[in-house]
């Protein structure tokens, strides 16, 4: 009974971290689908989100709801701006140039944060004030409940948006064939901006949830979840939104189970090991479709 209980507990822990990875991974995968680039600065948007929440709620003392909305807006706008100034001029450049620019953008964001907020970690108490619940012998903390709830809502909303609305249809069209979409009257620039806005907005949400869990602000806090989420996106099949959701959750669960039952130090190695194995067996990721190039 107690073993089963502890496994369940670890599964829930994994689901919680996995949800955060999934939210971030969606940003990677959407941007990849539309702009065909890996936005390595995406992880740092999480960091910006966490600091933005700190500024709005602790320094400016805004009400929590206003602070959260402003945080999401700040990150969305930042996402649009990075695309416009850093990636848009390189749209026809070789992908290596875009990749290096994205890494540069990541360093820039980290160092601006370092300049403003200094290197000393800032303690920041969780903004989630929900009490946990007890299900039998299982305890679910408030943060866990909020994280799972928010993630489910965000994923359902995003799926509806992509499949049922005009803007979502435009996104799918651009991701399949940018040239043909543009010739059908869809503005590619507006669609790419919207994609960055949504991806960065979700990263802001992930940042808020992440900081509620770890409660310490550092300029490099986005790096690790960023890279893990990238792994999740690749694991699920980069370019596929359900793949990113699935990949994120799987990754979180593997990580938490291996931390609990195998080794805390080896957990990251196991996570990356799983990625290697999956890519060997299914190079396009779990839900990705292998593209056969006709010649």
């Amino acid at each position: 009974m107690s073993l089963l209980n502890s496994i369940l507990e670890q599964l829930i822990n994994g689901l919680r971290t996995g949800s955060i990875y999934a939210l971030i991974a969606i940003g990677y995968t959407m941007v990849y689908g539309i702009a065909k680039m890996i936005n390595f600065a995406h992880g740092d948007i999480i960091m910006v989100g966490a600091y933005a929440l700190y500024v709005y709620s602790s320094i400016l003392k805004l009400p929590l709801v206003a602070a959260i909305i402003l945080t999401v807006v700040t990150c969305s706008v930042l996402g649009i701006i990075t695309e416009k100034i850093a990636y848009k001029p390189l749209r026809n450049a070789p992908s290596l140039a875009v990749l290096i620019t994205a890494i540069g953008m990541s360093f820039l964001l980290q160092n601006v944060a370092l300049l403003i907020f200094k290197a000393t970690p800032i303690p920041f108490a969780s903004v989630v004030n929900v009490s946990g619940i007890r299900l039998g012998s299982l305890y679910l903390s408030g943060t866990t409940l909020v994280t799972l709830g928010v993630t489910v809502i965000a994923m359902v909303a995003l799926t509806l948006f992509v499949n049922k609305t005009k803007a979502g249809r435009a996104m799918r069209a651009v991701s399949e064939d940018r040239g043909a979409a543009e010739l059908m009257g869809i503005s590619v620039n507006a669609t790419i901006s919207l994609t960055f806005a949504i991806g960065s907005g979700l990263a802001a949400v992930a940042g808020i949830l992440y900081i509620s869990q770890y409660e310490t602000l550092m300029p490099t806090l986005g790096a690790l979840p960023g890279i893990k989420a990238f792994v999740a996106a690749v694991l699920g099949g980069i370019g596929s939104i359900p793949g990113a959701m699935f990949g994120g959750i799987i990754l979180g669960i593997i990580e938490s189970l291996s931390k609990a039952y195998i080794s805390t130090q080896l957990s990251d190695a196991i996570v990356y090991g799983v990625l290697v194995v999956v890519l060997l067996v299914k190079p396009s990721g779990l839900l990705g479709k292998l593209k056969i190039e006709k010649v």
């Binding site: 005009k166 064939d177 040239g179 043909a180 059908m184 009257g185 503005s187």
Partner: protein
């Protein structure tokens, strides 16, 4: 006034003059063919007309206003739609969504409306669905509405491309080799469809084609390109019997 007026149009890629001094004038409601041997610059001409390439010289005016320098999506809004020589459908989207994506500019609702799922969003989506089905019916594609575009047979994919282009509500429709890869039956069917949409949607059509039966069967006027320049123009019976044109196609 002509619907489309092309004057001295030209483009160079480095030292290669792909299209040079092209002049065309399309009257409203006409069905015009653009023919020429492989590599003559026909598709390049289409790419110039739709804003994919920016011309190095010359002018293109649609209903009296210049469209040179506009982006492809702006030109699409201005009223030129096209299909592609090699099919470029949104393969992983349903037949219905392919056409719906092309209705993008005709139905406006804000992001906020769609997020809140208000009545106006539902009404507009319903109107879009009706419009899509109306267009698909013309091409007998309505039974395939929920099929992935990639699962359609080849001839139907070609039709869907035309349907998608028509959904943008164009004044001028450019068809790039609509009969390529079709068997004689499919080609005959296509000729009927082209005639039908021209009347039903009241549009002007410019098409590139190698199938001379189709060209002489439905085109009212022809422009012949060879090595990027205009070789001849006129009615099909005159142009297709012109020794210059025959030489360009078959050699001396």
């Amino acid at each position: 006034m002509a619907l489309l007026e092309v004057k001295n149009l030209g483009i160079s890629f480095g030292g290669l003059r792909a299209v040079d001094n092209l002049n065309m004038s399309l009257e409203k409601g006409s069905l015009v063919g653009l023919i020429g041997p492989n590599g003559a610059g026909k598709t390049t001409a289409f790419n110039l007309l739709t804003g994919v390439y920016r011309p190095t010289d010359g002018t293109i005016t649609l209903e009296g206003s210049s469209i040179v320098g506009k982006t492809p999506s702006e030109i699409c809004k201005a009223g030129i739609a096209r299909t592609f020589q090699n099919i470029r459908l949104f393969q992983k989207m349903s037949v219905k969504d392919n056409v719906k994506a092309a209705l993008h500019n005709q139905f406006q609702y804000s992001l906020l409306e769609s997020i809140c799922h208000v009545a106006s969003y539902k009404k507009k989506e319903k109107e879009m669905d009706e419009k899509v089905m109306e267009i698909l019916k013309v091409f007998d594609l309505d039974v395939y509405a929920d099929t992935f575009a990639s699962n359609l047979p080849y001839g139907k994919q070609r039709k869907l491309e035309i349907a998608r282009a028509l959904a943008t509500d164009p004044k001028l429709l450019l068809l790039d080799e609509p009969a390529a890869g079709m068997n004689p039956n499919e080609t005959a069917e296509l000729m009927e469809t082209i005639e039908l949409i021209r009347k039903k949607f009241d549009i002007t059509i410019l098409l590139i084609e190698h199938d001379m039966k189709l060209v002489s069967g439905i085109c009212e006027y022809l422009y012949v390109l060879n090595f990027g320049t205009e070789l001849a123009n006129g009615t099909p019976d005159i142009v297709l019997n012109d020794p210059k044109v025959i030489t360009a196609y078959l050699g001396e």
